[in-house]
Amino acid sequence: MVKSSSTAPADVGAVPQPRTPETRGLLGRAMDVVDERMGIKAIQYDVPEHANNLGWSLGGLTATMFFTLLITGIYLAQFFTPMPEVANQSVRYLVNNVWLGGFARGLHYWAAQAMFVLALLHMVRVFLHGSFKRPREGNWLVGSAMLLLTFLAVFTGTVIKWDQEGYEALQHNLDVSNLLGGAGIWFNSSLSERVPLLLRLYTAHVVILPGLILALFFLHALLVKRHKISPHPFVPAAEVESVEPFTNHLKRVGAFGLVLLGVLSLAAVIFPPLIGPTPVAGVEVTRPLWFFWWFFPFEKWFGTVSVAFSIAISFGLVFAVPFLDRNNKRKWRDRKVAMSVLLVVFLIMAAISVNVYIYNKFGH
């Protein structure tokens, strides 16, 4: 096995090694100075060769999208007014009058969808390769929680632009939260009657949800380092792979991320998102963003409560994966039941989404 050279972080109390400034560049010396105090070279842990492929970089790409959303979100927040009377208008002002406002909004819009899709693809990859199995079950749960938070972040983002579509999405959410009784108090106006729900959802969107995602991201990354990158089920002989420092993996993720950023930037310019009319209560004339379609018609088919159940069951299934698929087989071919369940769930979601695409252009 070819081992890369990596520098361990300095131990507390260890005698500092003599440095040779003449052999180190300015950047290298600066890194040494920072590492001696902050231990940043700890991220140079060994990563097997197979992890530098696109499929194994999906988690990193999801993180890239998250940071893209943070940057564009901070910019948008400087111009968005999260009050019902003017929120919609402030988005229009942002798009029409603010330098790069329309581009920032477009990039935010497309990056949000890319993040959710990449997170899903990352989880599918982890599922297919059995990378969630012992000892990585805990990290699967952390990842599942991040997926749920991302889902909520997209939902709140949909609502806070405060157009008819966002308002109708909020009304569906209120219907569900009212069914939950006391458990749904945070999600409706009974908790804080004098504060607009829009403002509270905005707080969730810009502080609570990204804050939690960020905290879980660090835990996720630390657990990846602790357990090391999972082996490839089809490359059982680890000695045939070379290893590289994790920083090299980050570089490749950065390269893929640059491509993705370029594609999303093109989408932001060429297909800018619209902003719907200012909302009116009591009517339903829109349908939500496409990745809410898989449960959208349930309200009409089975009643409001079914929406809550379908979401709870779906995310419950995701969280339960390590408890249900517990055998030590990692190759997808050897896990026929697990693969069948994945396929059936995917087909059901796809079929319902297509149904909504065809029949629900103007709501239920």
Partner: protein, 199 residues
């Protein structure tokens, strides 16, 4: 050689310090002086604003002489529509009816009454009016605006520049991804692994 190096380093340090000092002095010169700026400020002279100022003084429970001074200033201002002069005079009378030796509870009641009178003088009711802003899940919509769809495609030079940058990012990213690709493909690793396991 060592001595000259030391001397050079010493000179360099002195030069650095002098440059830093010069920079700080320059910054200090260009920063607006808080004190002088405040001294240049002119306070409001209209009755309504002066009543507001007096109200703030009462609310902050500044010394009685300052409160009296503030109310006097409001009374000395030219009459203004919407300002109830009689209420200001009544407030002044309440303030003058107490002193620093007045029992605390009585003084507190007087201050509360003064504050209410001053607010009344400016037409502010003691009862907070119901908010006219939307709360809960109210829409807040007064005028229903139409859907706004920004134009698709490249609309101006800025869009064109963004497209060029995006394409550069795609090309650069693809180049870097290829350059940084692992030595062996998964297919090759699988083959090698199978060979090792089979051996």
């Amino acid at each position: 050689v060592q001595a000259s190096t030391t001397r050079w380093h010493g000179g360099s340090t002195r030069l650095g310090r002098a440059a830093l000092l010069a920079l700080l002095l320059t910054l200090a010169l260009f920063l607006p002086g808080a004190t002088s700026a405040r001294a240049d400020m002119e306070g409001p002279t209209d009755a309504k604003s002066l009543v507001d100022i007096a109200t703030a003084q009462v609310a902050a429970r500044v010394p009685l002489d300052k409160v009296t001074e503030g109310i006097d200033a409001a009374l000395a201002a030219p009459p203004q529509k919407g300002v109830d002069r009689a209420a200001i005079e009544e407030a002044l009378a309440v303030v003058k009816s107490v002193s620093a030796t007045t029992p605390a509870a009585e003084l507190e009641a007087a201050m509360s009454k003064t504050q209410a009178l001053l607010q009344k003088a400016n037409g502010v009711s003691a009862v907070v009016p119901k908010s006219t802003l939307a709360v809960g899940d109210e829409t807040g919509t007064t005028v229903v605006l139409e859907t706004f769809q920004p134009p698709f495609g490249i609309s101006d030079g800025g869009d064109a520049a963004l497209v060029v940058l995006a394409l550069a990012a795609i090309v650069g990213g693809l180049y870097m991804a290829r350059r940084l690709r692992p030595e062996h493909s998964i297919k090759e690793l699988r083959r090698r692994s199978a060979a090792v396991k089979g051996a």
